[in-house]
Amino acid sequence: MSTVEVKEIAPLLTVENLVVEYPSKKFRAKPFRALTDVNISIGQGETLGLVGESGSGKTTLGRAVLGLAPVTGGKITFEGNDISHATRKQRRTLSRDVQVVFQDPYTSLNPALEIGDILAEPLGVQGMEQAAARKRIKELLDQVGLPSDAIHRLPREFSGGQRQRVAIARALALSPKLIVCDEPVSALDLSTQARVLDLFLQIQKDTGVSYLFVSHDLDVVRHISHRVAVMYHGEIVEQGPAEVVTRDPEHPYTQRLLLASPVPDPDRQEQRRADRHRLLEIQRQQNEQAGVPA
């Protein structure tokens, strides 16, 4: 933040050679390595889609950026500052710029607090006055398309999509520069998912915020991202422009992923199924030739 020159050249967030390890519960056992040598960067107003299967480490990467996962090696830089081991106090300053939307809208809001109190929380931490905070909350509810009488209601009075809107409003409260979105639409119904994706796009258009968008669904990632990174077993195996990675992938895993997601038409799906079987057969033969056991 100190040097203007650096800010203009460097991307908003860079992650270099990141390693995350969780200590094993067993005595003297090897720690569990969740991320190996991860490199990504996100520019201003850009969306990086992060796709991979469960257990591939994509959520861990998001949590490491937020300071919720232990960084064992490598470096996370935000606006030129190293934040890999930020203290609680630095995090509090950082929370103005980096925010989060979690997957499960049912557990990410405290069931005992009113919506107004949930939204006031980040504002209060930054020392905003009550009256100003109230005004900001009204703006936020308007921005995410919720009625202003939502302030005095409890999370349980809302549907999943509405709760996710509250979570998005909380993330937007401090006008952050980067929002880590951890599977924000996975728990939502199809039509709700479409509306929430629209909301994400609209917010980016209006505020120029950057997203690190984690999802297991290639269709979602293709729809919302400028660039896409594919994670597999804790490593990034492919990274590039969304159009390229999601239509004409290079890595065998991404190719499999692309053909695995079914399309809503019986005949085209039959075609895709055949393509997938052909691809699996080719990859199996390649593996055999390379001497890799199936």
């Binding site: 919720l68 925010q99 989060v100 405290n110 919720l146 009075e157 479409a194």
Partner: protein, 620 residues
């Protein structure tokens, strides 16, 4: 709950119109209301309030000082001056009872206060931070709990003299582990909740996170625990004093009890009054604790007067299907429908609510499935698709009622018209043998305590009546059939040793193990990774074709529908909006709702374009 909001926002049902999808709302009462409705809770609160008032007003109400003695009038019977008589030293029993209440209640509060002051913060810290503090405090707690309480109290009495306060502070410390454990467990259960993570990202300090987000979880259990502990404290303290270890210069119920016991042959009522006061107070505390616990637990008793309420909604539908509603004997199905493997006609499912109304979740749903056919039921969450599937299986919750319609399987009713509940005797003959089930969450549907082999073999031995050895052979073959590379290894494995996709294959193997005619698959691939989903879909298709079974596939994913199904039924708000062949529905849907759903699919859309915002729609 949220359903009422959702329904109002999305569908805006026509008010007053009968049979328009889901009707009624979930009615809940607050904790306070439930507490006041509970007669035991009300009585307990009244007793405790009265005793507290008497104790507070003791200086005003008591005619004598606690130790004022009239030597001329010992062990007197009740009269107008001493309304409960006097004790062996000529002291007024009523006055001593009032002052005793003051001291006894205060000392019980002191004990609970000390225990909370130590146990609660320690439990919060240990639960939230874990690590070293938790390890150390666990040791301390174990030591405290292994100390023999009564001996410690006697030692303290010997060291510090007969003080009520000292003994209660000591007892408070001794009993603090119960608060510690309670708090720690409650905190551990919410420590990793996402809203705590969100608060951390917002930059909240640990102290405010604990105060705002974590303390609220332990509040209720602490109140319940305190009611119990206060009762125990009174009992322990009085016990010590009864043994003659109390302070004879102070009037407490325990001292009075001790005094009364000495004169039990001369005047037994001296023993009765303090014992009565103690029993009343301790009983009140225990009952209050129970009442609060009952009020907090969500299990509300629905009054069984639903007959009248239900018959009004059930009658028209039942009358429509079969004019002469079947009595005890199962009616024969309508002629011309026997060839359908499964036929659901005008099915309605509802839940009676606390206020006597019925919340309908499925309304007027009809469809059929033939052998060798896959029917997809598509809908969003809360559309009633799973409830429909469960009523076919007879696995609805106990409080659910079939409010209308019928279900028939292979020419026989499983739910005959006019029946309110699924007949378990009729269905248990079919379930597992002819109708089987593939669940959504593979992991939670396998028992972690048994090996996969055991869980496959047991049902086969029971249902097919074959020997264990034969069942084992079949299980191994089934595992190979569902594409598991090393069946022997998986057969001996425990559920936690296999992946989610593998577990789903095991469950599919289990579902087809008894050669069913109909398989109900409830979102069978939703919990799986996309690549694994594709494999499981291939497996389902291959098995279905080979075994020629009928399948009801419940899903929200049109891709899965396109991949597997022959016909599709679309559900919204408990109603079937559209049904037809997969090509018709996916390509030329006639209903607006189906079109909206299909328009929400991302496949084939221009990236970064708005999906629905062009149409002004109500907020999801």
């Amino acid at each position: 709950m949220s359903d009422s909001v959702e329904t109002a926002a999305v569908a805006a049902p026509v008010p007053g119109a009968p049979f328009t999808g889901q009707t009624g709302t979930v009615v809940r009462s607050t904790v306070g209301q439930r507490l006041f409705k509970n007669p035991l809770g009300l009585v307990a609160m009244a007793i405790l309030l009265a005793i507290s008032l008497l104790a507070i007003l003791a200086p005003v109400l008591a005619p004598f000082q606690e130790n004022y003695s009239n030597i001329a009038k010992t062990l007197a019977a009740p009269d107008s001056v001493n309304i409960l008589g006097t004790d062996s030293a000529g002291r007024d029993v009523w006055s001593r009872l009032l002052f005793g209440a003051q001291l006894t209640l205060l000392s019980a509060l002191l004990c609970a206060g000390v225990a909370i002051a130590i146990g609660l913060p320690a439990g919060l810290i240990a639960g939230y931070y874990a690590g070293k503090f938790e390890a150390v405090s666990n040791w301390a707690v174990s030591i405290l709990m292994s100390l023999p309480g009564l001996i410690v109290l006697l030692t303290i009495r010997a060291a510090f003299g007969p003080s009520v306060w000292m003994s209660m502070i000591a007892f408070g410390i001794l009993i603090s582990p119960s608060y510690f454990r309670l708090t720690r467990t409650a905190v551990q259960s919410v420590r990793n909740e996402l809203y705590v993570d969100a608060a951390r990202v917002s930059g909240l300090s640990d102290l405010s996170i604990i105060a705002r987000h974590i303390f609220s979880v332990v509040r209720a259990p602490i109140i319940i625990q305190t009611a119990a502990i206060a009762g125990v404290a009174i009992a322990i303290q009085s016990g010590l004093e009864f043994l003659g270890l109390g302070d004879p210069t102070k009037a407490t119920w325990g001292v009075m009890l001790s005094e009364g016991f000495k004169n039990v042959y001369l005047n037994p009522t001296l023993l009765f009054w303090p014992a009565f006061a103690m029993a009343l107070t301790i009983g009140g505390l225990v009952l209050l604790g129970n009442a609060i616990r009952d009020a907090l637990e969500d299990g509300e008793k629905i009054k069984h007067r639903k007959k009248a309420a239900l018959s009004t909604t059930a009658a028209p539908a039942a009358a429509r299907t079969v004019p002469a509603a079947g009595g005890k004997s199962v009616a024969a199905v309508d002629a011309g429908t026997e060839h359908h493997l499964l036929k659901v006609a005008n099915l309605g499912v509802g839940y009676p609510q606390a206020d006597g109304s019925v919340k309908k979740v499925v309304d007027d749903v009809s469809f059929h499935v033939d052998r060798g056919e896959i029917l997809g039921i598509v809908g969003e969450s809360g559309s009633g698709k799973s409830q429909t599937a469960f009523s076919i299986l007879g696995l609805l919750p106990d409080n659910a009622r079939i409010v209308a319609g019928s279900v028939q399987f292979d020419g026989n009713y499983t739910v005959a018209p006019g029946e309110e509940r699924v007949d378990q005797a009729r269905l248990s003959k079919l379930r597992g043998k002819r109708i089987s089930y593939i669940p959504q969450e593979p992991m939670s549907n396998l028992d972690p305590a048994f090996t996969i082999g055991h869980q496959l073999v047991t049902p086969m031995v029971r249902v097919l009546g074959i020997s264990k050895e034969e069942a084992r052979k079949r299980a191994l073959k089934l595992l190979a059939d569902v594409g598991i590379v090393n069946p022997e290894l998986t057969f001996g494995a425990y559920p936690h040793e296999v992946s989610g996709g593998m577990a789903q294959r095991v469950l599919i193997a289990g579902a087809i193990s008894c050669e069913p005619d109909l398989v109900i698959a409830d979102e069978p691939t939703t919990a799986l990774d996309v690549t694994v989903q594709a494999d499981v879909l291939d497996l389902l298709r291959e098995l279905q074709q080979r075994l020629n079974i009928g399948v009801v596939l419940v899903t929200h994913n049109f891709g899965v529908v396109a991949d597997l199904c022959d016909r599709v039924a679309v559900m919204q708000n408990g109603r079937l909006v559209e049904e037809g062949s997969v090509r018709d529905i996916l390509r030329n849907p006639t209903e607006q709702y189906t079109r909206t759903l299909l328009a929400s699919m991302l496949e084939g859309k221009t990236p970064m374009s708005m999906l629905v915002s062009s149409q002004k729609e109500p907020v999801a």
